[in-house]
């Protein structure tokens, strides 16, 4: 932290409180020191031998200090795009969904493509927070908060589309079983209704999980604001030049309200950890169910190209694939642009996520080929036609984009040098995100545009309204993420501290580099059993 005065560091070192100077990684092939392949050594999860205090200062600093210089211009740009999307939605509501490029035959296109695209992106957050928690993958602690935030923002974007695609949007409340004067109830045999429940549950549970994880960190922000207030007396920075409200007062109130009076009690922690584990346990089947149910929207129909049993696992794998790509696309620039973020999001984190992209990309590729095989092997001429048309028909370019982005491009991650270079990972993630959008477009539009009667064959051409609402949803997503970076604890501080070596009650107080992973003796390594 630049806030520490050099004299203070020297004084701390003389008093035995500070560590010896930081040594660069001994082996350059380990990148920043985290890419250790030796199973006897544990890669450090936090670099530069940070103390608890430094970790707190750095992470709270993102919310407390002035934002970086680029933040406000980028925020203004993304919120303008979001507002533009809002204007086009207003135009759509006033005029009707005829303003989209829909035709009599292609009556679902970008709306549902965008819905499935965004809801899929959300899945990485829940995978990181729930499944990787159950698997005790400690590296998740550095990325789970941002990924969960991204999940919620993606679900918000996703939920817009079913809401506005219903035609008469003021009747959208009828998606839910509200008592009404017509005394009619929804059709519980429809997968579209299952979808309403699955997506709502998913959004709410993700929000609860995210909020619960944030309670201790919000309490940290509250306590820091409270301490500054006690020291500042009547001084301290104020919110606006003309408004005599002190910033820390607002922080203490807002963070304090949200922290629910958390006071870091061990008895509380005990129940908190139990609740966290339970939430992880129930979110795991939830995340698998949500995209399965989304795929039922298609799979339970009788349309060739949609009516396949492979859809649920295929959609779930694709969702995790696309979600991790989005996590990487957000975190790679963030770790470059924010000070000290590379200490928490190390190269190993990026490499791990690149590996997940490679694995899920191969699953998706397997699903693509299996669909074709079954279309041939199943002997249904209509289905075979649908798939031939998908790959070689007028939308061949969309299919080719999908396969090259989703199946071919992640193959570079077989090479270790490639999957440890942030710029390469970012570029592949961008390709994957484009590919995953095209996957949904291909599934939806190519199946619809040529059905049983050649008289019903149409092409789909997106209108300006189609395009701008999608662009607007990207603006909403980025705006919310920028607000998250500015005002909330970006890392799970308490969890991050708990996986640091000095957090173990059996850690020797002599400190030094020995416990930080580089020169660890096997005896010290296995002291903490399991972890949190």
């Amino acid at each position: 932290m630049s806030a520490i005065h050099p004299d203070q560091l020297t004084a701390q070192r003389l008093a035995g409180m500070a560590r010896p100077p930081i040594e660069p990684p001994t082996d350059p092939s380990t990148g920043d020191g985290t890419l250790i392949d030796d199973p006897a050594k544990r890669a450090p999860l936090v670099l530069n031998q940070r103390s608890f205090k430094e970790v707190t200062d750095i992470i709270c600093g993102y919310a407390e200090n002035k934002p970086p210089i680029w933040w406000l211009p980028v925020f203004m740009l993304t919120s303008t795009i979001a507002g533009l999307g809002g204007l086009f939605i207003t135009y759509l509501v006033i005029t009707g969904i005829g303003t989209w490029g829909l035709t009599n035959q292609v009556d679902w296109a970008w709306d549902i493509t965008n819905f499935v695209f965004w809801i899929g992106i959300g899945h990485a957050g829940t995978l990181i927070s729930a499944i990787l928690c159950l698997l005790k993958q400690k590296w998740r602690t550095a990325v789970n908060r941002a990924a969960e935030a991204m999940t919620i923002f993606a679900v918000i974007c996703a939920a817009t589309f079913p809401g506005i695609h219903v035609g008469r949007q003021w009747m959208a409340w009828m998606l839910f079983p509200f008592p009404n004067s017509n005394s009619i109830w929804p059709n519980f045999k429809s997968p579209l209704l299952w979808d309403v429940f699955a997506v709502s549950t998913y959004g709410i549970v993700s929000l609860l999980f995210w909020f619960m994880g944030m309670i201790p960190d919000l309490a940290t922000l509250r306590d820091r604001a409270d301490r500054r207030l006690r020291h500042a007396g009547d001084g301290g920075p104020i919110l606006f030049p003309l408004l005599p409200v002190r910033t820390d007062k607002i922080r203490a109130y807002v963070y304090g309200l949200l922290a629910l009076g958390w006071r870091f009690s061990s008895r509380h922690w005990h129940r908190y950890e139990a609740a966290y584990l339970v939430l992880a346990g129930i979110s795991t089947p939830l995340v698998l169910s949500v995209h399965s149910i989304v795929s039922f929207d298609f799979a339970t129909s009788i349309l060739p190209g949609w009516h396949t049993t492979i859809f649920p696992p295929y959609f779930v794998a694709g969702a995790i694939f696309g979600g991790f790509a989005m996590v990487l696309m957000l975190l790679i620039p963030a770790r470059e642009l924010y000070p000290n973020m590379k200490d928490f999001i190390t190269l190993r984190h990026l490499e791990n996520m690149a590996k997940i992209i490679l694995v899920t990309g191969m699953m998706v590729g397997f699903a693509y080929s299996m669909e074709f095989f079954i279309a041939y092997y199943g002997g249904n001429p209509n289905e075979l036609f649908a798939f031939k048309n998908r790959a070689f028909g007028p939308y061949w370019w969309a299919y080719a984009t999908m396969v090259s982005c989703n199946v071919l491009s992640p193959q570079v991650f077989w090479n270790k040098a490639m999957r440890t270079k942030p710029i390469v990972i970012f570029f592949i993630s961008l390709l994957v995100t484009i590919g995953m959008w095209f996957e949904r477009f291909v599934i939806i539009v190519t199946s619809l545009h040529r059905t049983f009667l050649p008289g019903e064959w149409h092409m789909f051409h997106p209108s300006m309204v189609d395009i701008m609402i999608f662009v607007g949803s990207c603006g909403v997503f980025l705006t919310l993420f920028l607000l998250f970076l500015r005002f909330l604890p970006v890392f799970a501080m308490a969890e991050l501290k708990a996986v640091m070596p000095q957090a173990s009650p059996h850690h020797s107080a002599e400190g030094g580099s020995s416990a930080y992973g580089m020169g660890v003796s096997p005896l010290q390594v296995d002291a903490p059993k399991g972890g949190h």
């Binding site: 109830w185 059709n187 009076g261 009690s265 061990s266 939430l279």
Partner: protein, 191 residues
């Protein structure tokens, strides 16, 4: 509750307890074992993150929270099925000649996804609300939060607080115990 205000400060303020600060998780861990073995029950430790094994060091019994969550989850499952069954019976809709749906006469299969989802939803709410309720939260005021030193527990300090309500509490003996356990600072907390 009769013992609540047995001890007061020189200024006449009732005492909440004695707060002791420790420098490392290891110090706190060993201090907790000593407090536990001295027979205290109304005491707590405060740490910036959950320390592995503190439950044993403090003698905390396993929480009943999972039972609450299970109860919440099964309530959700039951309510979801009843809702769908009743609404389908209240408003008959023939869909592809399939039965209206009840457990006995068949046709329950389409109810499974929503039943599952609402089970998860109720379980999630019971785990968050149950955790807060068992912890006595939200509670925005607490004697400890008035102590400035205590606020460092959210960053990098480790505390033990033995409450004056405890039957074994004795200002001198309790202080001596915490001093002997290696506390770096000890102070009284007013109610």
């Amino acid at each position: 509750m009769a013992r609540t205000h047995l001890y007061v400060t020189e200024a006449g303020e009732p005492i909440h307890g004695i707060l002791a600060e420790f420098a490392t998780p290891a110090d706190l861990y060993h201090a907790s074992e000593r407090v536990r073995d001295a027979g205290y029950t109304k005491w707590d430790t405060f740490t910036p993150f959950p320390i592995h094994g503190m439950e044993e060091a403090m003698g905390i019994k396993r929480t009943k929270l999972p039972l609450l969550v299970a109860a919440g989850g099964f309530t959700g499952v039951g309510l979801a099925y009843l809702m769908q069954w009743w609404m389908s019976a209240d408003y008959h809709m023939v869909v592809q000649g399939k039965p209206y749906g009840s457990l006995l006469s068949g046709g329950w299969q389409p109810f499974v996804p929503i039943t599952f989802e609402l089970g998860i939803l109720f379980a999630a709410f019971s785990s968050l609300i149950g955790m807060l309720a068992l912890n006595g939260l939200p509670r925005w005021h607490h004697p400890l939060l008035k102590k400035e030193r205590f606020l460092a527990s959210s960053e990098d300090r480790f505390f033990v607080c033995i409450e004056a309500k405890d039957a074994n509490f004795d200002p001198d003996k309790t202080r001596a115990l915490l001093e002997g356990a290696g506390a770096t600072s000890i102070e009284l907390v007013e109610e």
